[in-house]
């Protein structure tokens, strides 16, 4: 199966300068946009995306066509936002697309904007992505000159401007309501849903927020058809997916494969396996927010439903691998410190709970752990779950609670010995 798969989103990256518009065009680039504005109604584009079964690549896997269909038809201006804030630990696929295949992202935005009738499109770009910003600005200027972006696209009645809005270092601005608040000029604080952005989004208007990779799937759906797309990978979550693999593998990197590719194949056939003599200890399949899996789960199909069934989530598909030399408590501490720092502070369980988790873990790692610390850590997730505005708080204890499930003895030994039982520490 994998042998027959040809990369779609990353085809040509590393071999040609796709960020130059004439190179992108020579590969069939912007043909989907031409086809859409000349031969298809916006409804037809939307139907194609719905039928393709494309699901959001930003983390939640929500069906994209369905999301678009939620926009009320009441004459208010609609907005499209491309979520390019990529900050989920272990995830580096959107940056690859933005830096190395920017026209694919631009074409996807224009098609989505056409389908939903957007008045304006925004790219919320992570502030740290300096090179992606420069590449994207150049690509947009070229695309405007060739009438793919801006007024009367390719001579049609369709007009859409794309504005790049740079973030400034806040993980929480990846969450869509935090993002919208930030884009409106406020602090990036999330708000309760409903109302969803589809009805009350940017400036209170109907808004679609889609991830970079989600939008990058749209051109091939329009040019090659929904049926073709739906036939790739798992029936319930089809299509190509970029897996970002990092940690203890011999060839870390981005791998584009069909959704549903077994975790074992991703790690051992593509990412080169482990160093000789090492064993897998834990794998986060969906970024720093996801619960860990172990060696026992290596045959899980990497799609939204299968990974959820295995007790974790596909999330952003940032696959982080720990091997038998790594200290589980120290890894938990690194992640807990990050989430505690990124809490926006609106909800007490998140603000206090995550700092508490980080503090207790720091104490255990430093050798001052107390026996009751284990129970404290175990009780934390249930005291946070469901009591916060956004999912960051739950994300912040994803590694902790799952690792306590599989490695509680290691936590206990750490407390008793005052140090790690591993031969080497994380660092």
């Amino acid at each position: 199966m994998a042998g027959a798969f040809e990369p779609i989103l990353t085809a040509g990256i590393g071999r040609m300068a796709l960020e130059r518009i004439e190179v992108y065009e020579s590969q069939g680039g912007y043909e989907a946009l031409r086809k859409a504005v000349r031969q298809m109604t916006p409804q037809a584009v939307q139907k194609e995306v719905t039928d393709s079964n494309l699901r959001g690549r930003g983390g939640a896997g929500f069906p994209t066509g369905r999301k678009w269909s939620f926009l009320p038809d009441d004459g208010r201006p609609r907005y499209l936002v491309c979520n390019a804030d990529e900050s989920e630990p272990g995830t580096f696929k959107d940056r690859l697309l933005l830096e190395r295949n920017p026209h694919l992202v631009i074409e996807g935005i224009m098609l989505a904007g056409y389908a939903i009738g957007a008045a304006r499109a925004f790219v919320y770009l992570r502030g740290e992505f300096r090179q992606a910003y420069e590449v994207l600005q150049r690509a947009l200027a070229e695309a405007r000159r060739r009438s793919y972006v801006g007024d009367r696209v390719l001579g049609s009645d369709f007009s859409l401007e794309i504005v790049v809005h740079r973030g400034a270092g806040a993980y929480i601005c990846g969450e869509e309501t935090g993002l919208l608040s930030s884009l409106q000029g406020g602090r990036g604080e999330p708000r309760l849903k409903p109302p969803f952005p589809a009805t009350a989004g940017l400036y209170g208007q109907p808004t679609v927020v889609n991830n970079v990779e989600t939008l990058a799937c749209v051109p091939s759906i329009v040019s090659r058809g929904a049926r073709w797309f739906a036939s790739i990978g798992s029936p319930k979550s089809p299509g190509p997916k970029i897996f970002s693999v990092s940690g203890r593998v011999r060839r870390p990197g981005n791998y584009e494969l069909p959704l549903g590719t077994p975790l074992r194949e991703i790690l051992f056939e593509h990412a080169g396996g482990l160093e000789p003599g090492r064993r897998i200890k834990a794998v986060q399949p969906g970024g720093g927010s996801s619960a860990i899996l172990t060696e026992a789960h290596l045959d899980v199909a990497m799609d939204f439903d299968s990974v959820a069934q295995a007790g974790s989530m596909l999330g952003s598909a940032g696959v982080i691998v720990l091997d038998d030399r790594d200290c589980i408590v120290e890894a938990a501490q690194v992640l807990a410190e990050f989430y505690a720092h990124e809490s926006c502070g609106q909800c007490t369980p998140c603000r206090e709970g995550l700092h508490w988790a980080a503090r207790v873990l720091r104490r255990i790692v430093a050798g001052g752990g107390r026996p009751e610390d284990i129970e404290v850590l175990q009780s934390l997730p249930s005291r946070i779950a469901g009591r916060t505005i956004c999912p960051l708080a739950d994300a912040g204890v994803g590694f902790l609670s799952s690792s306590l499930k599989y490695f509680v003895d290691e936590y206990r030994a750490h407390v008793t010995l005052g140090r790690c039982v591993r031969e080497a520490y994380v660092a």
Binding site: G14, P89, Q131, G185, I320, L335
Partner: protein
């Protein structure tokens, strides 16, 4: 309004017309201030407040939410080391230790000669396959070994601009040795796999 801001009128107007509502311009205006001065000063806050018809306190409140807006001058170069999980696995802690010793400063501090500010961030810099990673003035330095970092510091001391070191013009588009079944868009990072796109060359 300061003369600086008065002179920027055209740029400011261009930023304002990107957005249906004025207030959205606050982040690009803060970026503009920081890029020209190196940090956001009180007078920038006041100017932005005036442009957007907000109070300076409101602008301060927004600016303080975001880690990248700094309110004090920094060194000529800012070195930001990633200390999220994949980079810690890849040696980020010894990298920070090496930089502390070489620069003689703690994270958050600037060297006496005003050249370097050292920062350690918990935010993953989205280059985890290249761990350990740091950014220098926003440009990536991949697989930052002590030796590589020493050469980098030395070049920066000689006054070579980071943009040149980053060698962005030479993004690797050349064909790669060793096909990866078509699935892998990036150059392999493992030993013996040839030159990789590691962000900068000397």
């Amino acid at each position: 309004m300061t003369p600086e801001w008065a002179q920027r009128r055209a740029v400011v107007d261009e930023i304002l017309q990107r957005y249906p509502e004025r207030r959205s311009a606050i982040m690009p205006l803060l970026h503009l201030a920081q890029e020209s001065r190196g940090y956001v000063a009180r007078e920038d806050i006041e100017a932005i407040a005036e442009i957007l018809a907000m109070t300076p306190a409101q602008v301060e409140s927004v600016a303080s939410f975001y880690a990248l807006y700094v309110r004090r001058p920094r060194g000529r170069h800012t070195l930001t080391v990633c200390s999220n999980l994949a980079c810690v696995l890849g040696g980020a802690r010894s990298l920070v230790e090496h930089l502390r010793q070489r620069l003689g400063v703690e994270p958050g501090e600037t060297t006496d000669d005003g050249l370097f500010t050292l920062q350690v961030t918990g935010e993953c810099l989205a280059a985890c396959d290249q761990a350990p990673v740091l950014q220098v003035d926003g440009y990536y330095v991949h697989r930052a070994s002590p030796d590589k970092v020493d050469r980098l510091l030395e070049a920066l001391r000689r006054g070579v601009p980071m943009a040149e070191l980053a060698d962005r013009a030479a993004l690797p588009h050349e064909a790669e040795g060793g096909a990866q079944g078509g699935a892998r868009p990036e150059t392999p990072a493992g030993p013996g796999k040839g030159a990789r796109a590691d962000g900068w060359r000397l």
